[in-house]
């Protein structure tokens, strides 16, 4: 039973560039959430997707956008990268109506230079 998978594992980008991160949820899950974890901090909620729609959004600018596909996988896009966007980006999946705890992937380490 595959867990949450994220790609790529690591990424280095330059300020001003755009980046796309990908996530496949745990088998059987239909909801994907994205979190940003800066160094020394806890994960911070970016947004959540269910039925291909953004359902909730945290306190992140519009430069952060996402998408969910019919197979429940998801992408996180960040435009106009800033140095402060350097962080570990975590994808988590769950069942929308199941009340299950979030299952996290191992994350994508993004470095902006």
């Amino acid at each position: 039973d595959a867990g949450v998978t994220q790609s790529p594992t690591h990424l280095i980008k330059t300020r001003g560039q755009q980046v796309t991160l990908r996530c496949s949820p745990k088998s059987g899950h239909d909801t994907v959430s994205w979190y940003q974890q800066a160094l020394g901090q806890g994960p911070q909620f970016i947004f959540q997707y269910y039925e291909e729609e953004e359902r909730q959004r945290g306190n992140f600018p519009d430069r952060f956008s996402g998408h969910q596909f019919p197979n429940y996988s998801s992408e996180l896009n960040v435009n106009a990268l800033l140095l402060g966007d350097s962080a570990l980006y975590l994808c988590a999946s769950s069942l929308f109506w199941g009340g299950s705890p979030l299952h996290f992937g191992n994350g994508t380490r993004l470095t902006v230079t």
Binding site: T31, F45, L90, W97, G99, P101, L102, N106
Partner: protein, 117 residues
Amino acid sequence: DQQVKQNSPSLSVQEGRISILNCDYTNSMFDYFLWYKKYPAEGPTFLISISSIKDKNEDGRFTVFLNKSAKHLSLHIVPSQPGDSAVYFCAASARSGSGAGSYQLTFGKGTKLSVIP
């Protein structure tokens, strides 16, 4: 404004003894609390949760206690093992959203637990 606080960045405990990790929250709307464990280069792994209608939940060596009046929860690990060495995150949510699964988690900064053999 940190709504979930873990005031101890680190904790060292001897193998076989009890580990107690603490967490405080400020948002009275939080009604569901979770503990996650994180090893380096891995994502957080769910450990145990508690609903606000309970004050204690046990799962093997792990017990979570919730004191709603004090807005405080704690995780007890008994006995502690070297494999428990990791960063522990406390998380909270208000599950009164549009659906049971549509909750977002607010995390603390984590406590690094070191269990010494």
